[in-house]
C-alpha cells in the first residue's frame, strides 16, 4: 500500500455504554480507500466540550468492510492505533470501510461517557499527486491564536500559494522566529489543524501533535497535497471550556515547517 497520505478526517465516537459503540456514518468517506485509522488520546476535542477518551485500556476496535460487512479487523486493542505509542508504525487498513457497521468495543467502565477521537486517513486523489521531483524547499508558518472557540486562520503566505506539500513538521520551540511565544508540547496536543482547498477540508481537524515526528520510526509523508492558506485554520480543543485557555493559549502562536516541491 502506498503510504503517502492525502486526506484525513477526525471522527468522534461517543462511548455511550459498555459493549459495541458504532462509528458515525460519514458521507465523504463512503467508498473511499481508508489507509490508516489513528486513535488520538486527548481530553480536549475540537468543537465540543465533551470529555475525550484519554486512556485506551480495555477498548477494542472492529472494522467492517464494505462488501458483505465482514469484519476484516476484529478486536484490535485501541493502543495499537495510537500513533505515538507505536512509534509511528501504523496498522494499515488499505480498503473501504463500512463505518456504520464498525464499532469500538468498550470493556472499561471508566471509559463510558467519554468520546473517542479517531483520525481516518484516506485516499483523496483530487487534492494530491505523485512525486514530480525529490527537490524540496522548506518554509515556515506561524499561526497566532486569537480565539478559543472560533477558527484561528493560517496567515496568507503568497510565496507558498499553489504549492504541493509533502511534509508538515511540527517542533516545540518556546519562541517562534518572529519572537512570539509558542505553545508548549502539552498545549500543542490540544490543537487541531484543518487544511482547506476551496470548499473541501483536505485535512479536517487533524490533531497537530500527529505531525510531531521527531522520534518516530516511520515517517509520515503527505502525497503532495494542495490547499489554500486562506480558509485553513487551527482550532483549540474544548470549545472554550479548556481551563486557562484565554491566558495560556490566546496571544501565543503555533509554529511549524512545511516542505513542498520545488
Amino acid at each position: 500500500m502506498n503510504k503517502k497520505l492525502s486526506g484525513a478526517k477526525l471522527l468522534l465516537v461517543p462511548i455511550a455504554a459498555m459493549g459495541p459503540n458504532k462509528f458515525p456514518y460519514v458521507e465523504d468517506l463512503k467508498g473511499r480507500v481508508i489507509k490508516y485509522i489513528d486513535f488520538y488520546p486527548c481530553r480536549w476535542l475540537p468543537g465540543t466540550a465533551d470529555e475525550g477518551l484519554a486512556t485506551p485500556a480495555d477498548l477494542y476496535v472492529t472494522l467492517a468492510d464494505q462488501v458483505g460487512n465482514a469484519y476484516f479487523l476484529h478486536g484490535l486493542p485501541l493502543e495499537r492505533l495510537d500513533y505515538a505509542s507505536t512509534c509511528g508504525l501504523r496498522q494499515p487498513v488499505g480498503q473501504p470501510v463500512s463505518l456504520q457497521n464498525s464499532f469500538v468495543d468498550c470493556r472499561n467502565e471508566q471509559a463510558v461517557g467519554t468520546t473517542a477521537a479517531f483520525v481516518v486517513w484516506y485516499d483523496l486523489p483530487q487534492f494530491s499527486a505523485r512525486n514530480r521531483t525529490d527537490d524540496l524547499l522548506v518554509d515556515s508558518v506561524t499561526v497566532p491564536l486569537v480565539s478559543e472557540v472560533r477558527h484561528n486562520p493560517l496567515p496568507d503566505e503568497e510565496r507558498m500559494a499553489r504549492k504541493r506539500f509533502r511534509h508538515l513538521w511540527l517542533a516545540a520551540p518556546s519562541l517562534t522566529p518572529d519572537y512570539r511565544a509558542a505553545l508548549a508540547p502539552d498545549q500543542l496536543k490540544n490543537c487541531y489543524i484543518t487544511l482547506r482547498k476551496g470548499a473541501y477540508n483536505v485535512l479536517d481537524n487533524v490533531p497537530l501533535w500527529l505531525f510531531y515526528q521527531l522520534r518516530m520510526m516511520d515517517k509520515m509523508e503527505l502525497a503532495n497535497i494542495v490547499f489554500d492558506f486562506q480558509g485553513s485554520y487551527i482550532t483549540i480543543g474544548g470549545a472554550g471550556t479548556l481551563p486557562g485557555v484565554r491566558t495560556d493559549y490566546i496571544g501565543k502562536s503555533v509554529f511549524f515547517n512545511l516542505a513542498y516541491e520545488r
Binding site: V138, W169, S174, L175, L214, A259
Partner: protein
C-alpha cells in the same frame, strides 16, 4: 537506508550576546552536494568538544529556539526558518537537502535574549548512496576508556587478525548511555568521518534513543584501523563501550 560515505563536522563556537552565526567558509564540503545536516547536542553538561577537547558542547534544551536559513549556490533559499529540532540527530527522518550550500549566506540564529554558551556540533552528510542489502557478518569488541581517554582501533581488533572486518559496512556502538566520538579513516583516504558521536550508531535496544532499524551503514569503507580512533569526551567519568563492526 543510506550507506554513508562522508560525514564531516563543523563546530560553531557561540559568543555571549551574539544571536546569529554564519557557516564557516573553510569546510571540506564547501562545494559538495550536502545530503543532510545533523545537529548533535550533548545529553547533559560536561561534554567537551571532540575538536579541541575544551569547549563545552551545547546540551539538550539549548537549541529549542534555534533556527536555520539555508541557501544553495544559486542563492535560492532552500530552508527558511527551519527549526533545529528537525536537524536533531534523534530525528530518524531529517530533511533531505540535496544541494550545494552557499556558506556565506546560510546561517543559524537563536531567538530570544538568552544565547547559550559553548559550541554547536553540526554534521554534514554528503556522497551517501542507497545501501545495497544488509551486512551478514559482525565482530564485537568491548573495551574501557578512562576519563578523557582515547584509543585507536588497532588494539581493539588485533586479536582478531584472521577475521578483521573489512570492508566495513556498518557500525553500532553500545555506549551505555555515555556518548563517545569516533573518527574513521580509510585506507584510500577518500572517505571523511570526523568525530562522529556514538549516539548516531547506538543499537536498537537503547531506551533513550529512537529505535533504529539497522546498524549505522557505511558504503563498504576499507577502515584504516591504525589511524581510526574513539574518544571519551567526559573528563570526569570512564566509559565501557562495545563496538560492533558489520562486514
Amino acid at each position: 537506508m543510506t550507506a554513508h560515505n562522508n560525514i564531516d563536522l563543523v563546530q560553531i563556537n557561540l559568543s555571549p550576546g551574539q544571536n546569529e552565526y554564519y557557516f564557516p567558509q573553510n569546510t571540506g564540503w564547501a562545494a559538495r552536494r550536502v545530503d543532510r545536516l545533523r545537529l548533535y547536542l550533548a545529553p547533559g553538561p560536561g561534554m567537551a568538544s571532540p575538536v579541541d577537547g575544551i569547549t563545552p558542547v551545547l546540551a539538550e534544551g539549548g537549541a529549542d529556539n534555534l533556527y536555520f536559513d539555508l541557501y544553495d549556490d544559486g542563492e535560492r533559499c532552500v530552508c527558511r526558518r527551519l527549526s533545529a529540532a528537525h536537524l536533531h540527530y534523534a530525528n530518524n527522518h531529517p530533511p533531505r537537502l540535496g544541494s550545494v550550500l552557499s556558506l556565506p549566506l546560510s546561517r543559524l540564529y537563536f531567538v530570544g535574549d538568552t544565547v547559550p554558551e559553548g559550541c554547536i556540533l553540526l554534521y554534514a552528510e554528503y556522497g551517501g548512496r542507497e545501501a545495497g542489502g544488509a551486512p551478514h557478518r559482525a565482530l564485537s569488541v568491548a573495551f574501557t576508556l578512562p576519563p578523557g581517554g582515547e584509543t585507536g582501533f588497532r588494539p581493539l581488533v588485533d586479536e582478531y587478525m584472521h577475521q578483521q572486518p573489512r570492508p566495513v559496512r556498518g557500525i553500532t556502538v553500545d555506549d551505555g548511555g555515555q556518548p563517545l566520538f569516533l573518527t574513521l579513516r580509510d585506507e584510500t583516504d577518500t572517505h571523511v568521518f570526523n568525530h562522529l558521536p556514538s549516539s548516531f550508531m547506538r543499537p536498537q535496544r537503547q531506551a533513550d534513543t529512537p529505535p533504529q532499524a539497522q546498524p549505522f551503514l557505511l558504503d563498504r569503507v576499507d577502515v584504516d584501523f591504525d589511524n581510526s580512533s574513539v574518544r571519551n569526551p567526559f573528563a570526569d567519568r570512564a566509559a565501557a563501550p562495545t563496538i560492533t563492526f558489520y562486514y
